[in-house]
């Protein structure tokens, strides 16, 4: 009997079938439920007899009130059980290592090279204390210094700090520097307004507010571009700065960005460039030439460091020479022979965090740049933009999907689409489509709230998916959109193949029902 060609079953009418994806579902209890009294996951080093003999009962040195009476009710598990529990939970996620991770627009979910993980994990990075004598950490200081030089060239700015914990922290750092600048000129009280746009990242507004500024948000013109007339209406002698993302979260580059900067400069304000969306413009256009005074990059976005379920990342803030005196301390300097940490900055805004930042993330970013070089970075920009426009071309061919704004124009590295037509036709909302997409192992992010673009979805392929990956994503989108027409119930009751089903949010918003820890939950259900 001849062997069958089993591969042909993967195709229907010449087209590759969608995956019969099913996410791992372990029905894994909460770890407390796995506890077994007496079990130990690890034993701690014992204190030597010689020490015990000399010290005696050290807890007796504590006043009674400071001695913990009741042991913390942590779960008790043996080591294999702990490992297994966490490995199972790790399987219940869709990370960039697993799925075509283009659905988390604005996050730049590119491939995080494994060699960089290896390098970041070596003891000569991982086992360094930040206060070690500088002669013993010349290597890591050199990495930080070199990376700063790289960022200077990519952006055109004069100095960088790598201290901020991530993008929003970097925006805050910039807001703090802006505040210090105006204070130094005696204008802090007068200049209390920061301007941003609705399609910039919301942290521009939030961080400015945290730093004590009033925020004025500009809405775009009819074509979705930042509106220069709105800006002119917003600037005044109260303007401290413009904080703007470019390209914006719609993927549209503001062709008048330098004019925006000029308008604000003329009003006496500074301009800070949120470069979270730098991936599509590396080597093509820079903060310096547009006239910016400050900028920031997200090293866990453009520079490939992995997202880690939500950090750690790193936000690198860059400034012109004029503002360098306000940078947080310390900075990394090189005197021709050795690298050192410099705290001599009397006008510094001070410390934003303990020590110097998430240095392993800087290491990964450095390694990533060094694997590509100037040509490679340019290729990153080119291909991420090609991938995005390729995707755009296919997405808008799906009936019911559109890409609002910038009519007839291309986009840079991401697009905010709208399912408004499909929703009006079928009553199925964008969020619901996203839930159903998860049944095919695909992520999906709509937009920041509150929505400006109705029924949004924001996709950002970056340069690391293949053409096949992009095609797969579009195929899923088209399929799900079609299901919205032919089988809306299936879409509305999704997910069917995820780890769990959709959560009932009502208890999470009700103070009498919510529970943010297991102990709180047990109290709620009367245990």
């Amino acid at each position: 009997m001849a062997q069958q060609d089993i591969s042909k079953h993967r195709f229907t009418d010449g087209k590759l079938n969608l995956r019969r994806f099913h996410q791992a579902r372990w029905d894994e209890p909460v770890i407390f439920e796995l506890s077994c009294e007496g079990q130990r996951g690890i034993l701690v080093p014992e204190v030597e007899q010689g020490i015990q003999d000399e010290v005696g009962d050290v807890l007796a040195t504590l006043p009674d009130a400071m001695r913990r009476k009741e042991p913390p009710r942590l779960p008790e598990l043996a080591q294999p059980q702990v490992l297994r529990h966490y490995v199972r939970m790790s399987q219940e996620n869709l990370g960039a290592d697993l799925n075509v991770e283009i659905g988390q627009g604005t996050c730049t979910m590119k491939y995080s090279p494994k060699i960089n993980e290896q390098l970041a994990g070596t003891p000569r990075m991982a086992d360094l204390h930040p206060l070690q004598d500088e002669e013993t950490v010349q290597g890591v200081l050199e990495i930080m210094y070199r990376f700063e030089q790289i960022l200077k060239e990519i952006s055109g700015m004069d100095r960088f700090t790598l201290q901020p914990g991530a993008g929003s922290a970097a925006i805050y750092a910039n807001a703090s520097i802006i505040r210090a600048y105006h204070e130094s000129r005696g204008e802090a009280g007068q200049r209390d307004e920061i301007i941003t746009t609705i399609f910039s990242h919301p942290s521009n507004a939030a961080c400015a507010q945290t730093a004590g500024f009033k925020v004025i948000t500009l809405y775009p013109d009819e074509d979705g571009y930042p509106d220069i007339d709105a800006l002119k209406a917003a600037v005044s002698e109260r303007t401290a700065a413009l904080l703007i993302t470019n390209p914006e979260d719609t993927g549209i580059f503001n062709p008048r960005i330098d004019e925006f900067v000029r308008v604000v400069h003329e009003a006496g304000g500074l301009c800070s460039y949120d470069q979270a969306n730098a991936n599509g413009i590396l080597g093509i256009t820079r903060a310096r030439e547009a006239g910016f005074d400050l900028c920031h990059f997200n090293l866990h976005k453009t520079f490939s460091s992995p997202h880690g379920c939500g950090g750690p990342g790193c936000g690198a803030s860059g400034v012109t020479e004029e503002l360098a005196r306000f940078l947080p301390v310390p900075t990394v300097e090189f005197d021709g022979e050795k690298y050192y940490l410099d705290y001599d900055r009397p006008d510094s805004v001070g410390k934003l965090r303990p020590f110097y930042g998430y240095v392993p993330v800087v290491l990964r970013a450095y390694a990533w740049v060094m694997s590509l070089g100037a040509e490679g970075l340019r290729e990153v920009a080119d291909i991420s933009v090609l991938n995005n426009n390729y995707l755009l071309n296919k997405m808008v061919q799906i009936p019911g999907c559109s890409a609002p704004y910038a009519p007839g124009k291309h986009r840079i590295e991401q697009v905010r689409y709208s399912w408004e037509e499909l929703a009006a036709e079928t009553g199925v909302h964008s969020e619901e489509l996203g839930v159903r997409a998860a049944d095919f192992g695909i992520h999906y992010w709509t937009s920041h709230h509150p929505y400006v673009v109705p029924e949004p979805v924001t996709l950002e392929p970056t340069e690391t998916p293949s053409k096949e990956d992009l095609d797969e994503y579009v195929t899923v989108m088209a399929h799900v959109a079609e299901e919205a027409r032919t089988d809306p119930e299936l879409v509305k009751t999704a997910p069917h193949n995820s780890t769990v089903h959709t959560v009932d949010h009502a208890p999470l918003d009700d103070p009498s029902q919510w529970a943010m820890t297991w102990r709180a939950y047990l109290k709620r259900i009367g245990k």
Binding site: S203, K214, V215, I216, T217, D221, A234, G427, H449, P454
Partner: protein, 373 residues
């Protein structure tokens, strides 16, 4: 057996009649007759069916409605066995029928009153129930100025379904606008703020949460009020226009604002209530003043719909730089990118207001938005 949930349904069979054949609105028997002659098809029935189809018939859900074309037909065609109350003259239903139906449903204590119609229908419902009952409109008329309607019939049905499953507990006040339809036919649009209906408000799915969302409408209005009040200066008059957001300002000052009128506040006290243009001009003599307005109705008018007491003369006297526009971000986004609108009746004043304007959207938060005239 008492049904767990009661849904009131009123269909205004003549709503939306005139629009398609170029007649504005459908009030008045004359217009209705003319529209039918021109081949107009009642839109409201179809729209109501689209909405009701989104709701599953269930044993514990009772539909309460009026006979025939005022609701029973629609209910049955969607698979429901409605409880029918009241009586009508088929083919000759009137505004009074709508009011009676609404009043009856209030009496019966329905959980939600779903109605299909236009501005006129909203007004009639309001006259009967005020803000005592949650209501939701299925859009079926021509251009609707009242903000009590869902964006389309499908979402009206979906939202109604969620309410009946107790999945919606938030409500907002939505303006009911009184449009003079005869005037509209003569090319003059004149709208008055009539009142507020209580409309359910569904928060969007909590999807895609990478950053906290803005506070809900009520909290946002309170934040706006905090901002405006904190900037109030001694020696200045504040002309407060009608609207839910402006009411938050007087609430914060612990004053009683008139529902639909223009009030004047100074140094934390009410100086005058429900003023007309001439009273305003009187009060403004020799005084520095600011006008505080918010977009009224669903079309985004900041002047000219519901606050005509703040006349072009008043605006010119106060000056553009002293016009304070307040709005929640949610309301701005519901404009779908369309500009705010002004229609004071005076071309010059309209043009003075046009361009870009600052809008207070929270505490220490503003936006700059386009204004068109």
């Amino acid at each position: 057996m008492e049904a767990r949930k009661k849904l009131g349904l009123i269909v205004n069979p003549v709503a939306g009649l005139g629009g398609r054949v170029g007649l504005k609105g459908s009030n008045g028997a004359e217009i209705q007759k003319r529209a039918l002659e021109l081949g107009a098809v009642p839109q409201s029935l179809n729209r109501a069916i689209l909405a009701l189809e989104r709701i599953e018939p269930a044993d514990d859900l009772k539909i309460v409605t009026y006979p025939g074309e005022m609701g029973a037909d629609v209910a049955r065609s969607c698979g429901f066995e409605p409880t029918i109350t009241g009586s009508i003259e088929p083919g000759k239903t009137t505004a009074e029928d709508t009011r009676n139906a609404a009043a009856e449903m209030l009496r019966l204590g329905v959980d939600l009153l779903l109605f299909a119609g236009g501005d006129g229908t909203a007004r009639d419902v309001y006259n009967a129930v005020g803000d005592e009952l949650p209501v939701l409109g299925i859009p079926a008329g021509v251009k609707i100025h009242s903000a009590v309607y869902a964006t389309n019939p499908l979402s009206a049905g979906d939202l109604a379904g969620l309410i009946l499953q107790d999945k919606v507990s938030a409500f907002r006040e939505a303006e009911v606008m009184d449009i003079d339809e005869d005037g509209v036919r003569q090319g003059i649009v004149s709208a008055k703020l009539y009142g507020y209906l209580k409309v359910p408000f569904r928060r969007r799915f909590l999807q895609g949460l990478k950053a906290p969302s803005k506070p809900g409408e009520q909290a946002a209005a309170a934040a706006i009020a905090a901002d405006v009040v904190s900037n109030m200066e001694v020696g200045w008059l504040y002309v407060i226009g009608p609207g839910t957001t402006t009411r938050a300002i007087t609430t914060r000052l612990e004053l009683d604002k008139t529902l639909i009128g223009v009030d004047v506040v100074a140094e934390g006290d009410l100086v005058a209530v429900d003023v007309n243009e001439s009273r305003l001009l009187e009060l403004l003599k020799g005084r520095r003043a600011k006008i505080v307005v918010t977009p009224i109705g669903g079309q985004g008018y900041i002047f000219g719909r519901g606050n005509q007491q703040i006349s072009p003369q008043v605006i010119a006297r106060v000056g553009r730089e002293n016009v304070v526009v307040v709005s929640t971000v949610g309301k701005i986004h519901s404009l779908g990118g369309r500009p705010l609108l002004v229609d004071t009746g005076d071309r010059e004043v309209d043009e003075m207001l046009g361009g870009h304007i600052r809008v207070v959207t929270g505490y220490n938060e503003q936006i700059v938005y386009r204004v068109a005239c």
